[in-house]
Symmetry: C2
Subunit: 384 residues, 2 copies
């Protein structure tokens, strides 16, 4: 394996009933901005649990943060945070609310010009308002990492930033929040988590058996537990296992000392930016194309994935690779996520637009930085 | 799985050549007490690398910390730390040096009476001198956890304490330190790590597939990579995999939300306290006895261990359990660690003494707190 540094100080508070501990984990005297999304927290009881836990704190609320949170919306929250001298951000929602809150945290204390530079130019974040999180949807892993993805609607841009300053101080993971989730959100979470693991695993071997086996452990658990949650939303044990898998998929641990890909995410972000397709849906579309087009470079790991996760150990290499891709596609479709562009009314025009954008940006993606416009075209054409 | 809280802020700096980064991770202006053990760091070049990295800091040295570090020795270091107003402790050694350093860190700032109470009465630690670690031997996991085990020679007592205040701020893990280790220390490290995993895994099922599979991942990696390191001490990749396995075995992650045993450690500590047997050797002696005597309570997990780690999937349950215990014994012996009491010139007298001690203490150990003097006698008699 490669040399690496790893540090993840997020405090995880996991299990049913744990939302009661939110207040005791926020510094006394904090002035809190409570951020949330479309309002599901009012229906599932989470809002009431949180409010009851933070009694005694001064609290201002900022809701209606969208899926793929909008820069435009978040900058309004930044104004509020500045005007009100907010000292703690409490994100109550899924990955979008938390990603948005991370941006609010960094942008409010950003002193070197336009906060857009944090996203567009990777301007270094040197401070942020401390964040706590109550997760209402297992999917993005944002609850235990330093990353966030933000969309600027006017530019049709979906861009990421990372900073240790925006890691949550704590994240409360109560699996019971899953009980009231719509099927589509659960399915998205399963696929998102699955692809997070794949992006850190399905590259080329560097002799990293711990990282590989941990990755396979998460994939196998998602394959087993995901459908249980879809079949019975109130299966607490399955919900807990799905939620913990989702966090472990992107808290950095399985990615230490190994090559990482992220081409699927980078291409998928464009599908969301141009067509508003759910993030996880874009991953389910793009990943099979990446596996197919990069099958030679990824050969050893695709075979290992097939063998260890899907139990594919017969046939020649080509047959095994094809079957491994097929099994992956079938899994996504089995949880209700279509994997072809036409399923989302997307055609060749969009492929041209995305390839143009990557041509203008001038950089390539993938674990060997060799996936440029030509390869992206092949990957997306594979998904027609 | 059970509810849990997990937070592990230790910064891991992993890989060859990384010892050069020690200095930049210590706060400017720190007055350092550099702690070490028997002096192997002078022979393998680690001392020189560390000293070169911390040029410019004021440094005092405290060496000769023993294996199973002695309270008596450590209290001398506490005197030095107080007198010299030490503000940072740099542990350069294996788990014993680091455990000893953790005790120095806590005892120096302990203000509520005799520091012995930290061990004997679990007095709460509320402050500690910050610690950094350069690990020279993969085994104990102390580099990424909050625990330490200390021996008081005059009382023949070996006792543990835990506190988040003594978690290292950083730990440098350079696998090249393994190149010059004697066979016995490598073998001890393999067995110690193996049993750390077992103590958090081989209990009863609580539907925790991520924790189970991660545990099995570490066991399989130890079984594969350990012998490679013993066969060729300069196999960097195997050394790196062993070192990372050892850290992951006891950084708390695989133990979240699941029952834990630790009977093997508690009984083993007594064998060290009375006979000075290496810690890992005591584990290799005791574990097979625990597996045998608690085979009913641990049945489901022993069968799972046999199946998933040792590939034992034929025969009836009793046969599988016996074979799983045998495979474990054979593994320990294959790395050169005998597993019977007579191999260490220990007989029934010691069994009586240990049982008497547990009778006096009045508490039981194991995942169901049901392993008392009578069970301990059976476990140890199984090892005659």
């Amino acid at each position: 394996m490669y040399n690496f540094e790893y540090q993840n100080p997020v405090k995880i508070i996991f299990g049913k009933g744990e939302i009661t501990k939110v207040g005791q984990n926020i510094p006394e005297g904090s002035k809190i901005l409570l951020t949330y999304g479309g309002g599901s927290i009012f229906k599932n009881g989470v809002y009431d649990q949180v409010k009851s836990s933070i009694k005694g704190f001064e609290v201002i609320e900022f809701g209606a943060i969208e899926p793929n949170p909008h820069y435009e919306t978040l900058m309004k929250a930044v104004e509020v945070a500045k005007k009100e001298n907010i000292t703690f951000l409490l994100s109550v929602g899924g990955g979008s609310v938390l990603d948005g809150t991370k941006f609010i945290a960094a942008a409010t204390r950003f002193s070197k010009g336009d906060p857009w530079n944090i996203l567009s130019r990777h301007a270094t974040v040197t401070d942020a308002i401390p964040i706590g999180a109550v997760l209402t949807l297992p999917a993005t892993g944002s609850e235990m990492n330093s990353g966030a993805v933000i969309t600027r609607v006017e530019f049709q841009e979906k861009l990421a930033f990372m900073s240790p300053f925006v890691m949550p101080k704590f994240s409360v993971l109560d699996p019971e929040v899953i009980f009231s989730l719509p099927e589509r959100q659960v399915a998205n979470g399963i696929v998102d988590s699955f692809v997070h693991v794949i992006e850190q695993y399905l590259t080329f071997p560097v002799n990293s058996p711990i990282q590989d086996r941990f990755a396979e452990s998460i994939l196998k658990t998602l394959i087993e537990e995901g459908p249980k949650v879809l079949a019975n939303r109130t299966d607490y044990e399955a919900a807990a296992n799905l939620m913990w898998s989702s966090t472990m998929a992107l808290n950095g641990l399985i990615g230490v000392g190994v090559p990482q890909d992220w081409a699927t995410h980078m291409i998928g972000h464009e599908l969301t930016a141009f067509h508003g397709i759910d993030h996880a849906q874009t991953l389910a579309i793009v990943l099979p194309g990446v596996m197919h087009i990069k099958r030679d470079q990824k050969k050893d790991k695709i075979l290992q994935l097939g063998d260890r996760v899907w139990g594919i150990n017969e046939g020649n290499d080509e047959e095994r690779i094809n079957l491994t891709i097929l099994k992956t596609v079938e899994f996504f479709e089995s949880v209700g996520i279509p994997t072809k562009l036409p399923n989302y009314q997307v055609g060749t025009d969009t492929i041209d637009t995305i390839c143009d954008r990557f041509t203008k940006r001038g950089y390539k993606v993938g674990e060997k930085a060799d996936v440029g416009p030509a390869e992206i075209r092949l990957i997306l054409e594979d998904r027609l």
